[in-house]
């Protein structure tokens, strides 16, 4: 109970200056992100812009949403949710690379090597026969 009182007090003490600093940081980061995306760095561009997005979201969550002052249970909840999404994503994406390549969607990088589509329209109807296809993992 002591904790929740501390929590309430703490959020009263937040000064508007802090909001302003965070806001400016967010705007700057967004601008940086946009600038970097114009450089055409390919995959690295995505990595960097995602890293910036993570920083921005963290700022929003910690200061605008006041997680900084809130109790452990809230932090734990948020961490669990984010962690689960990341784990779900990892396992599913690993599967794309690890499974039999031809079990991926036709036209995907993984399957393309094995399912060339010469002469066929680029959107294959589901009932189309494949062309020449030397299949093999």
């Amino acid at each position: 109970m002591g904790l929740s009182e501390i929590e309430a007090r703490a959020s009263e003490r937040v000064s508007p200056l802090r909001y302003l600093v965070v806001f400016v940081a967010l705007v700057v980061l967004a601008a940086v992100s946009f600038g970097i995306s114009r450089l055409g760095l390919g995959v690295w561009g995505t990595v960097i812009s995602l890293a910036i997005a993570v920083i921005k979201a963290t700022l929003v969550v910690l200061f605008f949403m006041h997680l900084w002052e809130h109790q452990g249970s809230s932090r734990l909840a948020l961490a669990t949710a984010v962690g689960f999404v990341i784990l779900l994503m990892s396992v599913a994406v690993i599967d794309v690379f690890a499974r039999l390549p031809t079990a991926n969607s036709p036209g995907s990088v993984q399957a393309k090597k094995y399912l060339p589509q010469e002469g066929l329209p680029r959107v294959p109807e589901p009932n189309q026969e494949p062309g020449q296809m030397p299949v093999g993992p």
Binding site: S73, V91, A98, R99, A103, S105, P126
Partner: protein
Amino acid sequence: MPPAASEPASPVTYLNATRGVRAWLLTRDHKRIALLFMALVTLNFLLGGLFAMTLRVKLLFPGPFMIEPITYNRIFTLHGVIMVWLFMIPAIPTIFGNFMLPLMLGAKDLAFPRLNLLSFYIYAIGSLVTLWGMVQGGADTGWTFYTPYSTTTPTQIVPVLMGVFIVGFSTILTGLNFIVTTHTLRAPGMKWMRMPLFVWGIYATSVIQVLATPVLGLVLLLVAFEHAFGWGLFDPAVGGDPLLFQHLFWFYSHPAVYIMVLPSFAVMSEVVCAYAHKNIFNYKAIAYSSLGIAFVGFFTWGHHMFVSGLSTFDSGVFGVLSMLVGIFTAIKVFNWVGTFYKGSIDFRAPVVYVLGLLFYLVFGGMTGIAVATTSLDVHWNDTYFIVAHFHFIMVGVTIMAFLMGLHYWYPKMFGRLYPERAALVASVVIAFGFVATFLPQFLLGNGGMLRRYYSYPEKYQALHVLSTAGASLLFLGLATVLTYLVVSLRWGERAAHNPWGSKGFEWLSATPPPPSNYEELPRFTGEPHDYSTTEPQAVTEPGAPS
């Protein structure tokens, strides 16, 4: 707590505090809401059960009989959908969880009573939409809604999807409410390690409900979109992948099986202690294993996909994690059995269900381990072995737990006793009926009988007939239970304050509890189900006038 010796004519209870339809339908009292849920959930159970019986009757004969294939497909789909989402997932949390959680924590209500009522109405609307979809023709995809069949089926799948989608909100709100209640409304002295194990179980369930259900909602939405408007993320013609659907679906649905079973474990922990008159063998092991199941259970979903084209690597990962999640259940099983050791066991109908549950759980769980060994699942996937596996748990564990909870808490909820003799007979009938229904299905599965089969090769007929016979017994037993419970509402013997002499915390309030549970908040000084002393576990006057 010695029960109140001589009660005045009629004490104020939550049942008679206010009268009239409005007072019930707009109530914010968690106990009344629990009863509202009970009415609807039971109706849905009946409906799902009738569908099950229809399936069983059809399966008496290998060829066409009684219903068309398309009707059969619709019926097993609705059976699955209704049993899973409209009956099993809400059943124990919304009825017993709602009713008991605040009582056990020493709270006057849940943290958000209005949200609780809203959750009920969302559930009611969701049920209605699903039923409307059923009347419209119903889906024929199976409860798993696999794409691309589900996105192209000519049946009316969208209302069914929407019904389930809506019910999902109810599940989320209930879970949210329980989590916050557990965190913030524990009475003085109610430390985390003093919480009744029922609360631990429900808490763990709520965590899963809150984290998994949104993913289901999204997936259903995507399928509905693709079916209705021809675009979505799973269309194979434009590179959409049916396996992604399966990943997302099972990311919800495997944890969902623990949503179904953890509350049963929670009930079991209470009932075992109460009737054994004994403290739980190892409190921490049971409490933590619930959390273990909740978290590790999120990462075993791929064991439903071993033959779907999943990579060997992922299969291995999911295989190992499935084994790890199994161990938490094993811990619980051994702890329950250990609780009986040197107890003082009161042999009543719930104890029959306890015994049954132990057997079915080990059998159903171990066959879960068997299918999780990857290599054997290549044979068993989508056979009746799987059907038997999950009915052993969903019927053998959850229904048994539901029934034991009903009997154990019946006096608490209604202030009346059920007829013990009839209950014992019915429980034995149910036990035999259950085994006769589902044991043969393991053999059918071994022999290669596939699920969702309208017609089947003739060699399987004998076992199917046996299974149908068992199902009839099961039906008989359940109908008996329903009958005497309804009759006892009115004509049952009045119950004493604590007829089982239980030391669960919920019995600290009056029976049936007054509208706000405790006149004065209790301060807990002892452990739940501590039968080693006759000291009181909490300092307070129970709400009952004494």
